[in-house]
């Protein structure tokens, strides 16, 4: 049971990440490769405040989100100069910069040694020490994130985002300042990713830079592509699929000597097949 609860918590964290990135990529058409960096900023801010200054989880997470908003605003302004593939490359580069800061600013982040001993959240004396209570907490925040995302995409603001995705020049002709819309959704997405980072830090109780590298961003993109771009349900389904599939493969009886490698091969093959037969994702409405 503890194992299933553990997987459910991971799914919750990745679901929030998927929702956050789908707003940016799926609904607005901005192919950002920097989401793991924002995930990391939230995680590190929360970890440092809780471990070094004894802050409560919720206060630390809010601060993490605020800090990430500032970082994302600055990065978003820089990336507003780019379009299309160049936007993706620029975001990749900025993600690498932030990862390098995690790794090399040892006085603050402890570098490769990471930050251990991050306590679990505590709310009015109730400690979310056991995994079941942590699951309920993270599920609550998945629901909150989903509702917030649905509100955004169903609003007039959301319609503008889709219009930017389809034809930015056309919507500019109507007088919309698309930079403001893109920047806003980029910051909102980053803040959501930061909160996912806070949850991750408090759950695993140890963070190090390796979790927040470009590979992490690629995994989050895989979630939304597999689940479906411009589909909130797709973000949730993608997270479920990409977390559970490799775990299911643990139970398949491959010989121990080659089990791990076979699982990787089967996992990759299944992803390829899914993309061949369902390029818009499991429940997506839009292809990249």
């Amino acid at each position: 049971m503890a194992y299933l609860i553990h997987l459910a918590i991971l799914i919750s964290i990745y679901a929030i990440l998927g929702l956050s990135l789908n707003l940016v990529v799926g609904y607005t058409g901005l192919l950002s490769m920097a989401q793991a960096a924002f995930y990391g900023v939230g995680a590190y801010a929360t970890a440092l405040l809780m471990v070094n200054m004894g802050w409560n989880f919720f206060a630390a997470a809010l601060f993490g989100m605020a800090l990430t908003a500032v970082v994302a605003f600055i990065i978003g302004m820089v990336m507003s100069k780019f379009d299309g593939d160049y936007y993706a490359l620029a975001s990749l580069g900025l993600g690498v910069i932030i990862y390098s800061i995690f790794l090399n600013w040892q006085g603050l982040t402890n570098g490769p040694l990471g930050i251990p001993g991050i306590p679990r959240p505590n709310l009015f004396g109730f400690a979310f020490f056991d995994n079941l209570s942590f699951l309920l907490l993270s599920a609550f925040f998945v629901l909150l994130t989903y509702l917030a995302s649905r509100f955004i995409v169903n609003s007039s603001f959301g319609r503008i985002l889709k219009a930017v995705r389809e034809d930015e020049k056309a919507i500019q002709v109507f007088g919309y300042k698309t930079l403001n819309y893109k920047l806003t959704i980029f910051v909102i997405g980053a803040m959501m990713a930061a909160f996912a980072g806070s949850l991750y830090a408090a759950y695993i109780t140890y963070i190090d830079p390796s979790t927040f590298s470009v590979n992490g961003s690629i995994f989050i993109i895989a979630i939304i592509i597999l689940g479906g771009l411009a589909s909130l349900r797709g973000s949730l389904i993608g997270a479920v699929f990409l977390v559970l599939l490799p775990e299911f493969l643990r139970f398949v009886g491959f010989p121990d000597e080659i089990a791990a490698q076979m699982r990787q091969a089967v996992y990759g093959l299944l992803l390829i097949l899914l993309m061949l037969y369902r390029p818009q994702g499991l429940v997506g409405e839009y292809k990249l």
């Binding site: 990471g114 140890y206 390796s210 493969l249 139970f251 398949v252 899914l274 369902r278």
Partner: protein
């Protein structure tokens, strides 16, 4: 049939196969009345060279035990999970071993110093983690993790052997290169600090990414500082070959040092003359042929020489575990309590025993050098 239906059918088939596989594993363990030992190794990812080597040693040792009748007639079954050499993967592997497979002890995880998330989980579940590739010096508040043991060499004796050699050979200046792995970073930091107390000035520090094979920028920067010695500590052992080759190409004349990982027959055979002159610390071999027999058996079974840096420490880990299992320890707490008292012959140390922090107590090192493709002792 629509594509969506085909995809869902495929998902259901995978789920059923996994379910059948899981039930088969559970039945296999029940039917054989085996002693199940959890194994959490990095079979994929950055730590795969280490993890695969550790797994090979465990399998070889377990096969030998089972061929001789097992432990009191019970065969050892290894329940192997891949940590993927990530923090999340390590937590998932250990959680699965504890909560689904109910193992009382886990050999591993690989690099539990880099991925510390599993330590509190095992502590709470009273499950022993007996890891061959963890520097306990990097574990914050280690005293809180009484179920965590490591057979990896303590850093300080090795550091003192290295910088003692430098001092005895009148080396006054040192450059240090390490990658971003926590163990390597900690080791390099401690060596630099200890060397400085002995009058060896650290003139340059360089950091590289874990899997790099291109050290030319760092070598050129170090060359400008004219150090007497250069110490390199990287997790990707195969990277020592390109490093040494680039040192020679770029004309860096300093004496090059590394750690026990450098004694790797595969790397030496692949990179040949480039490895000439590399000096390194290595655990003192006890008198006898234990290590040679181990190498021969490994080569016979797997067709290759043992190359992972943690093969000896993995051997020591499973040897210590089997010793306590023979004493009748079966639960996590019994195994833990027995490990604090056990003494067994080991590789690289005459005896393996643990102190009250779960670290091995014996670790003496020689200085060795690669010369004409051989590993030659230069001090003891």
């Amino acid at each position: 049939m629509s594509k969506s239906k085909k995809i869902w059918i495929a998902v259901i088939i995978i789920f059923l196969v996994a379910l059948i596989g899981w039930r088969w594993q559970v039945l296999r363990q029940k039917n054989t009345n085996a002693i199940t030992v959890g194994v959490a190794v990095g079979e994929t990812g950055d730590g795969s060279e280490w993890g695969q080597g550790e797994f090979n040693v465990y399998q070889m040792y377990a096969d030998d035990i089972n061929a001789a009748g097992g432990i009191d007639g019970h065969p050892i079954v290894l329940d192997v999970q891949d940590t993927k050499s990530t923090g999340e993967g390590t937590v998932t592997a250990v959680t699965k071993l504890i909560s689904i497979d109910h193992v009382p002890v886990v050999l591993g995880p690989t690099w539990a110093d880099s991925y510390q998330g599993a330590n509190p989980i095992a502590e709470q579940a009273k499950t022993v983690l007996l890891t061959p590739s963890t520097a306990l010096e990097t574990i914050d508040h280690k005293e809180n993790f009484t179920y965590l043991f490591s057979t990896y060499w303590p850093q300080l004796p090795e550091i003192q052997t290295l910088d003692g050699f430098m001092v005895s050979h009148q080396m006054k200046t040192l450059a240090v290169i390490n990658d971003h792995d926590p163990f390597d970073t900690k080791f390099a930091d401690e060596l630099a600090a200890d060397a400085a107390t002995k009058g060896v000035s650290v003139v340059d520090r360089e950091q590289v990414s874990i899997d790099t094979n291109d050290f030319r920028t760092e070598i050129l920067k170090i060359k400008q500082m004219h150090p007497d010695a250069v110490f390199i500590e990287i997790s990707n052992i195969a990277g020592l070959g390109p490093f040494m080759g680039q040192v020679k190409q770029l004309g860096l004349s300093a004496k090059i040092f590394s750690t026990a990982d450098a004694q790797n027959a595969d790397v030496v055979s692949k990179f040949g003359a480039d490895m000439e002159g590399l000096a390194y610390s290595f655990p003192q071999e006890p008198t006898g042929t234990a290590y040679a027999n181990f190498v021969q058996e490994y080569k016979t079974k797997y067709g290759t020489l043992p190359s992972a840096p943690s093969v000896m420490t993995a051997y020591n880990a499973i040897a210590a575990l089997v010793a306590v299992l023979r004493e009748g320890a079966r639960t996590g707490t019994e195994i833990r309590d027995a490990l604090y008292k056990v003494t067994v012959p080991g590789l690289g140390a005459a005896n393996i025993s643990f102190n009250n922090l779960g670290a091995i107590t014996q670790a003496n090192f020689d200085m060795k050098m690669i010369h004409n493709g051989q590993f030659v002792i230069i001090t003891n």
